[in-house]
Symmetry: C2
Subunit: 243 residues, 2 copies
Amino acid sequence: MSVKPNLTPLPGSCSACAVRPFALFRVVPQAQVGEIARVRSAVRLVRANEVIRDGVFTLYAGWAFSWTTTTDGRRQILDFHLPGDLVERSEDGAEVSALTDASFCALSRDRLCEFMGRDPGLALSYADGLSRDRARLRERLTSLGRRDAVGRVAHLLLELHTRLQRRGGADRTGAPLPLKQAHLADALGLSVEHANRALATLRREEVASLQKGRLEILDRPEMEELAGWSIAPAEAPVITAKA
Amino acid sequence: MSVKPNLTPLPGSCSACAVRPFALFRVVPQAQVGEIARVRSAVRLVRANEVIRDGVFTLYAGWAFSWTTTTDGRRQILDFHLPGDLVERSEDGAEVSALTDASFCALSRDRLCEFMGRDPGLALSYADGLSRDRARLRERLTSLGRRDAVGRVAHLLLELHTRLQRRGGADRTGAPLPLKQAHLADALGLSVEHANRALATLRREEVASLQKGRLEILDRPEMEELAGWSIAPAEAPVITAKA
DNA sequence: CGATACCTTGATCGATCTCAATGTCGGTGG
DNA sequence: CCACCGACATTGAGATCGATCAAGGTATCG
């Protein structure tokens, strides 16, 4: 086991940054890329499972996730972070950990705020990221509220596949996915055993498989069906319920 | 039954707006309040349960909520909106409905973007709102993932009480709360019957009661206990699960 | 080879859903 | 004024999904 994570180090200059097209600073014109460096406070490498203490950072390589624990000690994973994502350690007691070995650019919150205060485009880029986060959380909330275990798992896998694809980290039928079953369980409000069974169902039905860090989508239509993956608008039931 | 909602109409001028101190435009200095009017596209009154079609608006009076339905027709409430909140009808098939009779200022998305593009402070105010939305969704996700029915109900009631209090709409021991049990159920991933039973438990244990549109908090320490209402940071279990 | 981390499976238990009534209360038409 | 109606709230009994508990199984790494 190497002492340091086995990741290519970050480029010294932001102008060569491979993830900038997907990141907060994508809106900064080439001419002002130099200014970004003043917001950067450190470049770091962390090992899988290490807790990250920096308040704001842009993930460069590897995965991370945000989580809390309830008072009785159970973990809830709030979101997964992919390369290019801007991640904030929030005030409210949530933590951020590396899911894999990872590297990132820590930012100074003060200098970032200052920069955004001068550059509305950057502020809007920041807002755009928040808006995406919110959309993801809403989807996940819908999963936990109204989908069964198989549906939740299928939905999360489709979500991650889509996000990876947008960054070129996936092909149409699969992608590398470093999640353990415990991560799935803690993100979806399931026990590990049940997450395992849901995954087994998907595999048995030849819908999808997640093994050895790789997702394979075998039957996308069926998977979307199970996940309730419709971005379709809805008629308006006035006062509904029925779990 | 009146044909029009029984709400005081909005003031003609934004400078007299009662909710502006809590709203997106709180950061606009008095001298430029006139510019806000150009972003406003309409003032509307809607009845309880009416679907709202405007894309972006500031709620002025009354409550609203955002929701989706799953493919099998069950409803998930994504968030509740209170006076002063900026509400967006999102791209993704989520709808917004009035929970009570309500009035609001519809905004032009284009002109709002333009304004924010000129005024970084406004863009950051917008981001701040998104950030709060996200924090609320994370809390709710934790509820659905890791808390039982009574905990979920208690937590949501505390959240709403806190939000109302910040706006002066609640005293320490209670507040008017127009939610039906079906709203609670659909927000928390429960059946109406079970939401009812959870509420009954809280009442029986003399922790809190929600009746006739009013919340009473009878035993706040106990309620916080049940809700897991700790904003306490947590130790880091490395790979947990166990629902 | 043994340890460790992770995955899998089975049996049982329990929280929550479903289905089916019944109760309450404010409003409305007669 | 009263009987009825519709919207909500409540209660009970039985069915289910997913949690727990308890073993194994497998693969990787030192």
